[in-house]
């Protein structure tokens, strides 16, 4: 087949419109989120003392941290559908969740006596955190990877990892509604670890799924 022959076929194929992934993303994100919420309400549920807990700034901190991670890395995932985008240039937004995490930890260290640091960091349910955040991330991660498959990401591993981190951030936000461990030191260790697991899974899946 000569290149001119191939062009004949490409030109004839131009009638079929590809879906607008930008438009579909919103709908699919809601679907992915719905999966997480169903799992959440079936197996976990909102903590009983939610209203009183929210008066504690370190509980609020968990949500801010999760939201900042989600918000700062979502642009990376959305832009990654375009082949000419260099993800490294978007990595600078990652300092935002790091700053949030840093100030949360600093505040925790300043407001609680050193004797409580270790017990706060280990919390009561670290293994539940490590299990639940990745499970809650499955829906959003699937949605993001499917969306990215329709695009043209040229850094498959990094793109998958970013999708994992974003999904982990969203999952952490939902899990924080349930999680009774409120120390920022717990968040710094176990939430980060759980989100890290989802990030690695995203990177590995990206390596195989996001090639084109």
């Amino acid at each position: 087949m000569k290149t001119g022959d191939l062009i004949n076929a490409l030109v004839e194929d131009q009638g079929i419109k590809e879906p607008l992934f930008g438009l579909r993303l919103g709908v699919r994100m809601v679907a992915g989120l719905a999966v997480s919420l169903v799992i959440f309400f079936l197996f976990l549920g909102v903590r009983a003392d939610f209203q009183t807990a929210m008066t504690d700034p370190h509980v609020v901190f968990k949500f801010i941290f999760a939201a900042s991670l989600f918000g700062s890395l979502l642009p990376m995932v959305v832009y990654a559908v375009r082949p000419e985008i260099h993800l490294a240039s978007l990595m600078r937004w990652f300092v935002l969740p790091l700053l949030v995490l840093g100030s949360g930890v600093a505040s925790q260290l300043l407001t609680s006596p050193p004797d409580f640091w270790l017990s706060g960091m280990m919390g009561r349910y670290p293994t539940a955190c490590l299990r639940n955040i990745p499970v809650l991330a499955i829906g959003p991660l699937t949605v993001l990877l499917l969306m990215l498959r329709g695009g043209a990401p040229t850094q498959p591993v990094a793109t998958g990892a970013a999708a994992g981190a974003v999904s982990g951030g969203l999952a952490a936000f939902i899990y924080a509604l349930h999680c009774p461990d409120d120390s920022a030191l717990f968040v710094a260790l176990w939430y980060s670890l759980a989100i890290g697991i989802v990030t690695v899974i995203g990177g590995v899946l990206g390596r195989y799924w996001l090639r084109w």
Partner: protein, 186 residues
Amino acid sequence: MHAFDTQTEALAVLLKKAKAGDALAYRSFFERLAPLVRGMARRGIGRVGTPMADLEDAVQETLLAVHLKRHTWREDQPIGPWIGAITRYKLIDLARKYGRRKEIELDETFDLATPEPEQPSLPEREMDRLLESVSETQRVIVRSISIKGVSIREVAGTMKMSEGAVRVALHRALKTLAEAYRRLET
């Protein structure tokens, strides 16, 4: 530099028209694009040091990718970097087949590409071998439309299929071809 600006500007105009449904514009888009991609691919392959015999395969894979991913070009963005990135990505694919993974240093300076016409009388292309991976019907459709230059309507007539079914089969075949090429890697 100015000559290049008008080149890419023309490509952008043509692809815009093509996306709006202008088939003639789409054809001249590819006819202008192919020599540029060829020039860039020659430089890229030369830099990586893999056989130059793959040049036309790389061009064809790039054009196929440009076609299948054309919705990822945003019309308010310059088209040069977009094409450059796709070409580079496909050249990296090609380099991987030879186990060159880490050491490839390719740039995306598509604007330095020297347009280069296709060499006449080349051996069988990779694309022909890859055609073995699609179904019999799809293969006949792709061959008729590409090599024989038959229109979708005529293919539908001879194959006793609806035009819509031929369209779908053609589109699926092209997607499968792109996938099959990727799978050739180790």
